[in-house]
């Protein structure tokens, strides 16, 4: 079910002097099954944007359509929208509240008014999807490690069986191992279940490996929107807005400047390795 943003504008603080224009004329189409990276510097409006996608914030201008319907129509069922567009906030472990892990994951599907059996089946499946072992299911969520808590919180949203999963900085504050594990799991969710994933991040490094499309936000507007190779071609402009291309891009660009005939479009380490080997073996 595609999500369409049509000339979306959002102003914080209404008509006071403190008003901030957080989103300016954002136009996006999010088709089914894409893995999208939403990148932007702190304050670029990316968090504001994702809160528009499930109707938590109403745009001050423009419209948002989900499956062809305007989500801010008076008779539109927002609860249903929120089960279809799952949003995992930054530091989602801060929203855990139940006495054990399993009941916390049940909260979402329970709110959808499903039968007890269906709720528990979904919670179990979701916890399995994020790779949490059975032994933790009946522990207090507050006794888990940071990475485990985060998985539980992500499972809490997954249990609602969303068509679109949005994750706001899912790796913030995790160590490199925890980060890779979470990102790998999200990637396999995308591949196995075919759901649309929007990964919000300020790190190109994180997303370059996984996503098929990158949307770069700057000062409330969409700066670039395309496949990673295209976007990273603008690495100098990206630096000007406080972002950076993956380190591999810099290495390839430097090699190219030194006279090695490498293709500078490699974005991951393995691609770069193959490319360099190709050039070396030819020489």
């Amino acid at each position: 079910m595609p999500l369409i943003l049509d000339h979306v504008d959002y102003v914080y603080g209404g008509d006071t002097e403190l008003a901030v224009h957080a989103l300016k004329d954002v136009n996006l189409v999010i088709p089914d099954g894409q893995f999208i990276g939403l990148i932007g510097h702190t304050g670029s409006g990316k968090s504001t944007l994702v809160q528009h996608l499930n109707g938590l914030i109403k745009p001050t201008g423009g419209s948002i359509y989900f499956n062809g319907e305007d989500i801010h129509d008076d008779d539109y069922d927002k609860k249903k929208l929120r089960s279809k567009v799952g949003l995992v906030f930054q530091y989602p472990e801060h929203q855990l509240f139940e006495i054990d892990v399993f009941s916390d994951v049940c909260f979402g599907p329970k709110n959808l008014g499903l039968s007890k059996k269906e709720v528990e089946l979904r919670a179990y499946a979701a916890l399995k999807q994020v790779g949490l072992e059975d032994e933790f299911f009946y522990q207090s969520p507050f006794d888990l490690s940071g990475g485990q808590k985060r998985r539980v919180a992500i499972a809490g949203v997954l249990a609602m069986k969303p068509d679109i999963l949005i994750l706001d900085e899912p790796t913030a504050g995790l160590d490199p191992k925890g980060r890779d594990e979470i990102l790998d799991q999200i990637d396999s969710l995308h591949k196995e279940m075919g759901i649309t994933v929007i990964l919000v991040s300020h790190s190109m490094e994180d997303v370059a490996k996984y996503v098929e499309r990158i949307i770069v936000m700057n000062k409330g507007s969409v700066l670039y929107d395309g496949v990673p190779k295209e976007v990273f071609r603008h690495y100098k402009e990206l630096e000007q807005v406080g972002l950076a291309a993956p380190q591999v891009t810099y290495i390839m660009q430097a090699l190219h400047e030194k006279g090695f005939p490498v293709n500078t479009e490699a974005t991951t380490i393995s691609e770069a390795r193959d490319e360099i080997l190709r050039v070396l073996s030819r020489a």
Binding site: K79, H94, Q95, L96, F107, N111
Partner: protein, 270 residues
Amino acid sequence: MLRDITLGQYYQADSVIHKLDPRVKLIATITFIISLFIVQNIAGYLIAAAFLTCVIKLSRVPFRFMVKGMRAIVFLLLITVVFNLFLTPGETLISVWKLTITKEGLRTAVFMAIRLTFLIIGSSVMTLTTTPNNLTDGMEKLMAPLKIFRVPVHEVAMMMSIALRFIPVLLEETDKIMKAQIARGADFESGNLMKKAKSLVPLLVPLFISAFRRANDLAMAMEARCYRGGENRTKMKPLQYKKRDGLAYLTLVCYLSVCIGANMLIRLPF
């Protein structure tokens, strides 16, 4: 959602009132409140209104920010006015069914409304023009004599400034958790009272945990900087009276004398 609460909100501007010593502003606010209860006739209230208008003009804070604080007490104001209007004995003006409005009742009701309104606006001027830190600094200095009676003045002031500092932080946190739970299908609005109270659990538990976490972190950070309370503690920016503060005190004395004078000398029928 919750950003509309303006409790203790500071409005940044470059004005004489902003620059005044917080002690002056505290004493002035108390004096102003006292003056509101001293004056008994319309002349006195006109003087108070004139004084307040001048201060607001000088403070360069838009008037609607002052009125914002009024929203919270509209209900209280209404109750006060209604009770005074109908329940004060005296000379009957209008009588409908069991309700009678007396001349005295009308007078007290109107005066009460004016007093409360001025009181709220007057104290908003103080909170709008003084940063919470400055305000607690001022309080600490003013209450310093109480140390003789072993009142932990510094500790109380520190607790107050921490509490004030955390209001916006916790409000933001509440907003965030609320949104996160709404995204999980939580419903905070519909249902009866029992259901509504129950629906607050997913909000309150994370909020309390986060408050304790923040308190812990702050305590740790303070200890790491060797904080150990008020004894022998010096300030980076000690409060010092300037010439304008003296002038402000003088103005205040003038205002209070005029108020008392007007109250004693002018005799009006209402």
